[in-house]
């Protein structure tokens, strides 16, 4: 293949996935833009945002890849009603990993902010926000990934190519939306930092 044909093919293959995640990213941006007052109430919250979003992509991207592989190998039936506890275990493990990484992010953020002498809402606020946001986005993302991978597979699409764009799009939107709900409820209960 010539350089030009490689470039044209790569461009055509990449554009749909990038466009899908662009829509998700902009929606997430609007929600983040609506959180300006929350960002001012909870000092240092912005520091957590990239870690929480990346965790969603890493954990639920890996869940999607696992489910896709299990479907290809015939280890999993592509129907929620017929699946055994293998599906439940995979989802539970993903949510547990996501929660652990979120709490870890909250601890590292608290330490880093303290080390740099920057304003911080404190460990309790960050950890509670991380747990609530991790649980909410984990449930929403697991349901999305399972449904899309199963429905795609039943309709004859390769689930491997569906997982990437869906997880990045849904991960951004659900990740930020869960953060918004978590911050507002935690501030209502614990007060600002």
């Amino acid at each position: 293949m010539t350089r030009r044909s490689v470039a044209v093919e790569a461009y055509k293959e990449g554009l749909p996935a990038l466009s899908a995640s662009l829509v998700g990213g902009l929606l997430a941006g609007v929600v983040l833009g609506g959180m300006r007052s929350d960002l001012q109430t909870v000092d240092g919250l912005l520091v957590l945002v990239p870690a929480l979003l990346a965790t969603r992509g890493n954990v639920y991207g890996s869940l999607g890849a696992r489910l896709a592989t299990a479907l290809h190998q015939g280890l999993l039936e592509p129907r929620v009603s017929e699946s055994d506890d293998k599906l439940l275990r995979a989802v539970a493990a993903a949510i547990a990993n996501g929660l652990l990484a979120s709490v870890f992010a909250a601890v590292v953020a608290t330490l880093a902010l303290a080390g740099l002498g920057r304003a911080s809402a404190g460990l309790l606020t960050f950890v509670t926000i991380a747990v609530v946001a991790g649980l909410l986005s984990g449930l929403a993302l697991s349901a999305t990934v399972v449904l899309v991978v199963f429905a795609g597979y039943r309709r004859g699409y390769n689930p491997d190519t569906l997982v990437g764009p869906i997880v990045t799009t849904a991960g951004d939107v659900f990740g930020i939306a869960a953060l918004l709900i978590a911050v507002r409820s935690v501030v209502a209960v614990l007060g600002g930092g």
């Binding site: 990449g14 466009s19 941006g29 990346a54």
Partner: protein, 173 residues
């Protein structure tokens, strides 16, 4: 999975600290705050698409690590072209959404310029990072599919914030 996840989380907190250091600019200009998730996400996606393609080409034996290699050069070219297509749209989208949701304080031109400059720099960085990571995995006998995609995606996430920060400092403040 878990140890990798924790290392990546620490790296992402690093990018969060960069983001926190220009929080006042982001709070003052809503269009820039709207740009944050989409810039991070698109930078990571540019890297992960390129990494997946280079990994596959490597497994098929159609890739050699030389700047003259057509597979490498063609994919690098496509990455830059994708960034130059998508980032102006991101800029217009972020500005438009800021107008709709409470007002944009920057002009459309400024926001598009910030997005386009960030995108161009990020595309070049994504190519460099992905080529180095794929080559390093190959030299160490690791499967690029397992290692390169998470490393590249997260590195590009972080670079997305750093580049956006630098461009905002140059263009806006």
């Amino acid at each position: 999975m878990l140890p990798v996840l924790l290392v990546l989380t620490v790296i992402e907190i690093g990018s969060g600290l960069v983001l926190g250091s220009f929080e006042s600019d982001l709070l003052r200009y809503p269009s820039l705050l709207i740009l944050v998730p989409v810039t991070i996400g698109t930078a990571g996606n540019l890297g992960s698409i390129l990494a997946a393609r280079l990994s596959t080409a490597f497994h098929l034996g159609t890739l050699s690590f030389s700047p003259e290699d057509d597979m490498l050069a063609g994919n690098a070219l496509a990455t830059v072209a994708l960034a130059l297509t998508v980032f102006p749209v991101i800029g217009v989208g972020a500005w438009g959404l800021a107008v709709l949701t409470g007002g944009a304080k920057l002009t459309a031109g400024t926001v598009v310029l910030v997005a386009l400059l960030s995108g161009a720099v990020l595309a070049v960085l994504a190519v460099v990072v992905t080529a180095i990571a794929t080559y390093a995995a190959y030299r160490r006998g690791l499967d690029p599919d397992d290692v390169v995609i998470p490393v590249v995606t997260n590195t590009c996430d972080v670079l997305g914030v750093v580049v956006l920060f630098a461009v905002v400092k140059v263009v806006v403040s």
